[in-house]
Symmetry: C2
Subunit: 663 residues, 2 copies
């Protein structure tokens, strides 16, 4: 294929230093360099080729995934990539293929809930890959409601063992990733019963399969739960079903950091504060937010490049056709997503900081900020994953018909991403938790208890309830403090409205239930404010020619497009009037024009290889059509000119060997 850069003209119009932006996106020069090096390594390794992913049948797909995972491990060892940075970078470039061996949530669960000895024993085995573990919480009948799990772990003082049992069909473990075919061990969540009393759900380490022949141990039934959404996608993963028929495990396999059962069957709490487990939760959620920015930026990169390549309709008869990225409708769908990818990247980075901050506070037994941190991370998980799932599909639609081909990369990206809206907490359930925090915050406003962190703006609730937006002309919307206060005012007012309406109900619980849709909207307002404020804070810190200017534009696009999307909120709470809303729209259009010549360079700054993107439409060089054409012919249906089944089913029809009534 020719080596022409069909997007060179787009790259020439960029008004900023792309290399500097790459550093900003990566987080540091060091991170960029490693990511870049590892990316090249993976892209050039034939073992990691993506051919056929989307058309392989399940068994072959799974086998292929194991092969790639083993190869990656070999590589990491051969190259002596002991540095976590390097390892993560490799894993990053090969999304999905590693989850099996990454031991998903198994390691964090033991870290969070295991005693020091338990950690030493099990984590060593896991790190050395002498065992492979999974996280078995969800059951057929219970996901969101963890306290409703039915699996039992009954202490048998005679044998000093727990008996793990699945008393009902709905108590079958269901969904754990890596469980179905690969894991040898699991952290199993079960109701702890001792001395006839039910102490609720606890974690237990259970060996599932023989380390000798990989067969399930006696009393254990394991299988894969079947095909999931999409081509390739999560079908590379063996989400599993697991049933126990009175399986005995040693008493010490209970995760005992917070509580334990003594030799004689007494249930006792340790003196470790329960709050410590929150650390794991913050860690997991920051990882999910960071994944959201990766997935969204990948989709946006494809859609932006293809929109610059694709031309459709001429302005005048006979003139060159218009690049579809020049249509304002295309811009108004695409650029807010481009801005969101950056927004989520920065809020993810900030969550990493929050994690270390929380860890320190927990170690100092300072638990005061936990409710706020919990609400913030739950809300950001919900907000970023929902927006990313919708955003990927929008990017697919922005590519017209060709986006529907697997070779565009977008169908698999969508299918593999969407469960993030459900796992680690259903997004609506999480937003209701945020809402509870907000209502509590409002109710304590008079009490002298000062909201902190991401809720600190409630301190100026009185001011925000009175606040008047002073935007008079479109450019006034470029002032970050105006934007910030508009978002703060909206969030406070929605929360206060909800609290007032709840107080009219016969009970708080009833009011909360009845108004839960409004509460979800208040929660979203709180979370969107966090993202906007983090983006604004980040803009000031960046370096490099033109970088700040571009990010400021994106930050404004993120905020103003949200104002447009949630206009009902802003207007019903009287934060804005209709004229100010119209001015926000005018400014938004101006910002789109400003970003337009930089769009391709802004996605180049992600530094994604063509291998990573895996997209005929998102190619760096923009040479889309020959590649689409070439990929088509690889479909197995093209193995023969006359398809399988023609002779049996089609020819008899054509040859009138069946008689027909008119259809």
């Amino acid at each position: 294929m020719e080596q022409v850069d069909h997007l060179a003209h787009e790259r020439r119009t960029a008004e900023f230093d792309v290399e500097a932006m790459k550093v900003v996106w990566a987080g540091s020069r060091h991170a960029l360099e490693i990511a870049d090096r590892m990316g090249r390594l993976v892209a050039s390794d034939p073992q990691f080729r993506k051919d056929n992913r989307t058309i392989l049948e399940r068994k072959e797909l799974f086998r292929n995934t194991l092969r790639k995972a083993a190869h990656a491990w070999k590589l990491i060892n051969e190259l002596k990539l002991t540095d976590l940075w390097h390892q993560n970078a490799i894993l990053f470039w090969c999304p999905l293929i590693f989850d099996h061996l990454l031991q998903g949530m198994f390691v964090p669960a033991i870290k969070g809930q295991g005693t020091d000895e338990q950690q030493k024993k099990w984590l060593t085995l896991a790190y050395k890959m002498q065992i492979i573990g999974c996280y078995a919480q969800t059951e057929l009948g219970h996901g969101s409601n963890v306290q409703g799990l039915e699996t039992t772990a009954t202490f048998d003082p005679k044998t000093d063992e727990f008996i793990i049992h699945s008393p009902t069909l709905t108590s079958s473990k269901w969904w754990p990733g890596g469980l179905g075919k690969i894991s040898t061990h699991a952290v199993v969540y079960a109701r702890l019963i001792t001395d006839g009393q039910d102490y609720g759900v606890h974690g237990f380490i259970v060996q599932l399969r023989s380390l000798h022949d990989h067969l399930p141990l006696p009393g254990i039934t394991i299988g894969d739960i079947g095909a999931k959404f999409g081509n390739g996608a999560y079908n590379t993963m063996d989400n599993g079903v697991l049933r126990f028929d009175h399986v005995h495990i040693p008493r010490e396999h209970m995760l005992m950091r917070l509580s334990q059962v003594t030799r004689d069957g007494k249930y006792v709490h340790s003196d470790v504060p329960r709050q410590l487990v929150y650390g794991t939760m913050v860690f997991v959620r920051q990882a999910i937010v960071s994944d959201a920015s990766k997935a969204l930026s990948r989709a946006v990169c494809i859609a932006v490049r293809y929109s610059a390549v694709r031309r459709q309709f001429s302005a005048q008869d006979g003139g060159p056709e218009i690049q579809v990225i020049d249509y304002k409708t295309q811009q108004s769908r695409l650029f807010p997503l481009l801005a969101s990818a950056y927004a989520f990247r920065f809020v993810g980075e900030w969550l990493k900081w929050l994690y270390t901050d929380v860890t320190q506070k927990l170690q100092a037994a300072d638990f005061a900020t936990l409710p706020e941190v919990h609400a913030c991370t739950a809300g950001l998980k919900s907000l970023t994953t929902s927006a990313t799932a919708d955003g990927i599909e929008e990017c697919r639609k922005l590519c017209g018909g060709h986006g529907y081909l697997c070779s565009s990369g977008l169908p698999e990206l969508f299918a593999v991403y969407v469960p993030a809206c459900t796992y680690e907490g259903d997004n609506v359930v999480l937003l209701l938790q945020v809402a509870r925090f907000l209502i509590k915050t409002v109710s304590q406003l008079g009490s002298g208890k000062k909201p902190t962190g991401t809720a600190a703006y409630f301190c100026k609730a009185e001011h925000l309830m009175q606040w008047k937006c002073n935007v008079r002309k479109a450019e006034d919307w470029l002032n970050p403090s105006v934007i910030l206060e508009a978002f703060e005012a909206r969030a406070v007012r929605l929360a206060v409205n909800c609290a007032q309406n709840i107080s009219k109900a016969s009970s708080v619980e009833e009011g909360f239930a009845e108004l839960s849709s409004d509460l979800v909207e208040a929660a979203v307002a709180h979370c969107e404010l966090i993202v906007v404020s983090r983006f604004i804070a980040k803009v000031h810190q960046v370096k490099g020619r033109g970088v700040e200017k571009q990010l400021r534009a994106l930050c404004n696009i993120y905020a103003l497009s949200l104002i447009h999307k949630r206009l009902g909120d802003f207007l019903t709470t009287r934060c804005l009037n209709p004229e100010q809303a119209a001015l926000a729209n005018d400014q938004l259009r101006a910002l789109y024009s400003q970003v337009r010549p930089n769009a391709v360079a802004l996605v180049d700054a992600y530094n994604y290889s063509d291998h990573y993107l895996g997209s005929t439409l998102g190619r760096y060089d923009g040479n889309v059509y020959p590649k689409l054409y070439e990929e088509a012919w690889k479909d197995p249906l093209n193995d023969s000119v006359v398809p399988d089944g023609y002779h049996e089913y089609v020819r008899p029809l054509l040859k009138q060997q069946v008689s027909f009534s008119r259809l």
Copy 2:
């Protein structure tokens, strides 16, 4: 499996005659009876079993599809189902498997553009299935912009033939359904060139494959364009690529109803009015709207039933858990979709009427209403397909984790549905056409030219610009004329605003381009008004105990949930004030409570068989969990306990035959 109806309690609470509602949904008692009979026939026929659809590899999937299609044809003939009703009913119950042999748009294209003789010749062959045709318009480089197609059909007076040629890679035909492997013929759109002059794009009937051995004819290259989004889904279809290398076809193969080329190469118009082709367009679009209601109702049926089965969290400790359908958040996501499915069903029914009406008008050479009809059908295609695509995915999310399993039926339903947003006109491109019509309508307001049909409300533009909503309490929102006027006022005001802003631009074209996002919103407002007004009109006509009451509630839910969703529109145009918006929300919640006990019965009224739904979660009897469990074990990955690849790739890791650095 036990034969208990786990949803019996839900069915007992219904406050209306479900059988009567089935008639309303089906359109007539006759239609219901036939659909019911055909549904049973298909469901009980082992040839139509859906096993494995989502896990078959492409070749097997395709072969299976051919088998089912051939079987359906055999059945139709054996049972002598000469009645179109019966035939369509059978096809309905087996979605997708027939499209190949249904000859897609091939037949309508010839009907619309062929002369009487051409119709007689080609349609007879097609109906008898002596040939199989496809519709080859889109190319690799051009979809939306049909006038930009590059394939040429050059008249050669020496041989009295057209020479069909693909001059560039981007001129390759790309996407036509049925082209890749099955079709023997195609209607090919190409630029007609005669006497050195290019007369633009015209349709030609081209034979692609030998009727003897099915091999492509000389000069013709055909293949499948490769895997598409999702499991099963559109991968049952051989969307194809087609290239011509100077292929000769007889002159008479040009579709010549509107124009032709004479023996000596003159291009001449016939006296048939060009407007006649609009009939086909209305026909195709009404079919798409009708498909939207089918697809959305299917997803809603699954989500409603499962939401009534699924229980999560108890109200009090120890009490029975709450059905998730009782959560207001679940209702506020689900019930507007339930209402939309009914709304789209009724607007689809009305479009059928519109089609016969237009056909009559066209025959009477009355073309006055065409622009309005064009805008209306374009807009409704866009509105219903976008809402349905989003709605299916929302239904999937409403099912929590289990909705991600293929056995839920939702992933395939989504993947197979989404291209409806793109084919037959990209939804945004269509809305821009609606907007053009609206702007023109506004510009002619003073001129005495009276808007008709769905645009008739512009006649009272002056009144609507002044209109004040008189809602004072929540129940005022139950008045259909208030709702109607609110939607009319919003639509008129958005259109007028756009027109005014455009008039400030340096040219209409520039203004239109710059404001195209606002214009799209105005177009959506126009289309939503049409759906609301058709729903209101329908409610008065229905019969049966309690039926009207239920539909009135659904109609109000449809309208009020739209008001909430588009609140920015209603508030910026000052159709409503914030208090009235809050009252609409209050009323909406009350309506949810009213519909709640009827929800399961309202989806029962679709009369969908379990076979048709193809969903473990949407089963009529609600016996979800055993079925989920049973389906899981069918995955090929469960063929063996120890998976393929374990010995090569996993065991060496576990056995430390590779050395590890800490990860």
